[in-house]
């Protein structure tokens, strides 16, 4: 078989206490599409960032076309013919779409100056090839995630690199766009390029890839030829234990309605959202990234305003756009982005854990340090947060423990209703099942839970009911019994094809 375009073996990367990657191993052959699968936090993106020259691996061997390399920076890897689509879009909001695609290598015209026209035309051609005519002169600010993703793709293929790496490129794309992307990918493959393709969607993985590499907890597990493996086999390797243990769903008494959302709408984000959550019930909000789940949750909690509809909590109508009111009423919100929204990374564990309690801890407006410390200790202990000291900056904790602190600070308010957005995104397998157990315990104790998750197993494993969203609409309400990967995925994507 031909020599690999690129091969990485035994790569490791740690961020302080967090081991992002323990044994990153991947090999990409010319003319193959190689899928990389693994749970959230398995280390896929970290591996990608090493290939991209963004992170320097702490260990491991890295060769490009048989020559071993140590990239100093992104430029090096570009020079070596590797181009990357990162998981999180990296556009410059103030620059035009065309400029975003060609930044650093804009086509030149007279006097060696940048030629706007040629750049515009080149951009148009790319979009034509992808079949999505985006206005190249529009500034990138305000583009939807999907459009941002498209531009990333255009950017990457315009480099016509030897190795194209795509970290969850389809996460926000609709069926049509995904199909176009696949056509492009295949044509690149014909041209002899190697493609690394990361996705959580197995249908795509199996439809597109020639080989599949599985990762778990930052370690390489195995590589298979797509033809001779099954989804189940892969899932088992990814999860490393059978789903049951990972999703300890203890039965709980469903009580009466806690949250009642009526015909909620926000222009351009979601429309007529209506649902109920009952005491002791875990309701999952499923859908693709960008479906509007987070926006709905934010509106319910009062972070964002909503244009129409109403949110009533325990029978009383909740004040619009006022998180404090929601908290006082007994709501909690574990946001999707732990580092930016869930925690104040540079504050100590104690401070973070008691941030939600700051009002109730105050006597005559003065916070008593003792009470604060006790509260912090109690709750971090209850959740078994592993930390050397309450005084450590929370940023020094591992992803999983950080997530526990977030949970701790909300449980400390003894909420009646908890919104958890991607509660296990990027936390290690062990902590993951702990979090799951915790959630079902809470449910068992009669707390109502609204769980947003992009991980099907999690949704299916944890939920009593599943609401599926697509492009700002609830496209399905499934009871635990009828909720299967097929039904959910259909509601999350296929309904669009239906609409067409």
């Amino acid at each position: 078989m031909s020599q690999p375009l690129l091969s990485l073996t035994g790569a490791a990367k740690t961020f302080g206490p967090v081991v992002a990657l323990a044994d990153g191993t991947i090999e990409i052959l010319p003319g193959e599409i190689h899928a990389l699968v693994g749970e959230n936090g398995a280390g896929k993106s970290t591996l990608v960032k090493i290939l991209a020259g963004l992170y320097h691996p702490d260990a491991g061997a890295f060769t490009v076309s048989a020559a071993s390399v140590a990239f100093r920076n992104v430029a090096d890897s570009k020079a070596a013919g590797i181009s990357v689509i990162y998981q999180e879009p990296t556009l410059f909001p103030d620059l035009t779409v065309a400029e975003n695609i060609f930044i650093g290598r804009q086509p030149k015209g007279a006097l060696g100056l940048i030629s706007k026209n040629r750049m515009r035309q080149a951009a148009r051609d790319l979009f034509a090839r992808l079949g999505v005519p985006i206005d190249p002169d529009r500034i990138a600010e305000g583009l939807s995630i999907a459009d941002q993703q498209i531009i990333e793709i255009a950017k990457a293929i315009s480099l016509d690199a030897k190795v194209l790496i795509m970290d969850e490129p389809t996460a926000a794309l609709s069926g049509v766009e995904v199909e176009r992307l696949f056509q492009v990918a295949r044509s690149l493959r014909e041209a002899g390029a190697g493609i690394l393709f990361i996705s959580h969607r197995f249908d795509e993985v199996f439809a597109l890839s020639d080989r599949i590499t599985v990762m778990r907890d930052g370690r390489y597990v195995a590589t298979h030829t797509t033809a001779d493996v099954t989804t189940d086999a892969i899932v088992r390797e990814m999860v490393g234990r059978d789903i049951g243990a990972l999703f300890p769903k203890s039965h709980s008494e469903i009580g009466d309605v806690v949250l009642h959302v009526e015909d909620l709408g926000r222009a351009g984000v979601f429309t007529n959202i209506s649902f109920e959550v009952r005491a002791g019930e875990v309701v999952a909000l499923a859908g693709l990234v960008g479906a509007g789940r987070t926006e709905v949750a934010r509106a319910v909690f009062g972070i964002d305003p909503y244009d129409s509809g109403s949110v009533s909590f325990l029978g009383t109508r909740l004040k619009r756009h006022d998180p404090q009111a929601a908290i006082d009423a007994g709501m909690g919100f574990v946001p999707e982005d732990r580092r930016k929204q869930g925690l104040v990374m540079d504050l100590s564990v104690a401070r973070n854990a008691t941030l939600t309690l700051r009002n109730s801890l105050a006597r005559f407006g003065i916070i008593s340090a003792g009470a604060e410390r006790r509260a912090a200790e109690e709750w971090t202990a209850r959740l078994q947060v592993k930390t050397g000291s309450q005084e450590y900056a929370v940023s020094t904790l591992s992803g999983g423990n950080q997530q526990k602190v977030v949970l701790a600070k909300w449980l400390a308010t003894e909420p009646k209703f908890l919104i958890v957005d991607e509660p296990t995104r990027g936390i290690d397998i062990g902590t993951k099942s702990e979090v799951h157990r915790l959630l079902s315990d809470l449910a068992a104790r009669g707390i109502a839970i609204l769980m947003i998750s992009s991980e099907l197993p999690e949704v299916l494993g944890m939920a009593d009911r599943v609401l599926v969203m697509h492009e700002g609409r609830i496209t399905a309400q499934l009871d635990r019994a009828d909720a299967t990967p097929e039904t959910v995925m259909h509601a999350a994507t296929a309904s669009l094809e239906g609409a067409k």
Partner: protein, 370 residues
Amino acid sequence: MSDSTRTAAANANANANAAAAPAADTTKTISTLGKGRTGAARILLGRDAIMIYAVVVFVLYACIAIPRFASPVTVGFLLLDVIPVLLIALPMTLVIITGEIDLSVASIAGLTSALMGVLWEAGLDIGTVLVLSLVAGVLAGAFNGFLIAVVGLPSLAVTIGTLALFRGLALVVIGDNAVANFPPELTGLFTSKLGATGIPTVMIGVVVVALFFGVLLHMTPFGRGLYALGFSKEAATFVGIKVNRAKFWLFVGTGSVSALAGIYWTLRYSSARSDNASGLELTVIAAVLLGGVSIFGGKGSIPGVIAGVLLIGTINYALRLGRISDVVLIIVTGTLLIASVVAPSIFAAFTRWQHDRRVRRSLPQAAPRE
């Protein structure tokens, strides 16, 4: 741009450390590693502590090296000199901790001073004059607050504008006159000392203000909120902190305290003029930053800032006594300021570099292919 101040800071921060990791939050992971000390050590080795040691050390040095420095007289004159900066630095600390900045403080002080002058000339009784001047400060601060918190403009730009505006208004109010004939008992009070201690009487007031802001920042829910706000506007919103309201009141705070500083200035020098306290804003900010407040927000404390102010003030007065030119003072101030921020990140950068090098050696060496 509206609420992007924090974002900007965060990203700039990311930019600063981007070599290490792509996103602001993750860089914090790295940059704050090892900071995880336990309570006592944290306090004894913290940034504030170091500033306080610095002040103590310098005072000791001055007592030994500079004739006549060790005397209550020093305390008096020294404190009288630092009071305006000290006062304004207090609310400024809170403002900068939330990731904003207020450059208009000195102009507000000037404006209140001018206002005092004309009102007093106009024959109002001193009580009314003081109240009205203070009100003027509050209004000025509220104006800043409105533009920044409500309209959502970047505070740096806004307060550059109001810096000019308020100073201009001061000129409009009092023009080229200087009013000096304030009641002697009052001006006397402002230079009087507490018995033999040499401590100025007005320090009582200053201490009260300092305690107010110290408690507000370090011991109240509001203060807790400010830190959260300074690090991450998002995170703050999620725990129900009213971001814009907090900012608005902070600028009202700087406004009012600047007014107090203006009043002090007027009565201490018994001279109300339009140009009083001009250029003070940079001194204040320098002192605050030297006191360990991060310009990106989120980090800093009142004790640290007070230490910073005192350090500059002490050096300043020591040089006076030593009859050493202000030129030295300027250079020292600048160097201290830079050193105080460069030192830590040099250290961080060095350790990072070491780490990378170790790693590189353990990796097969080869130039990337062109």
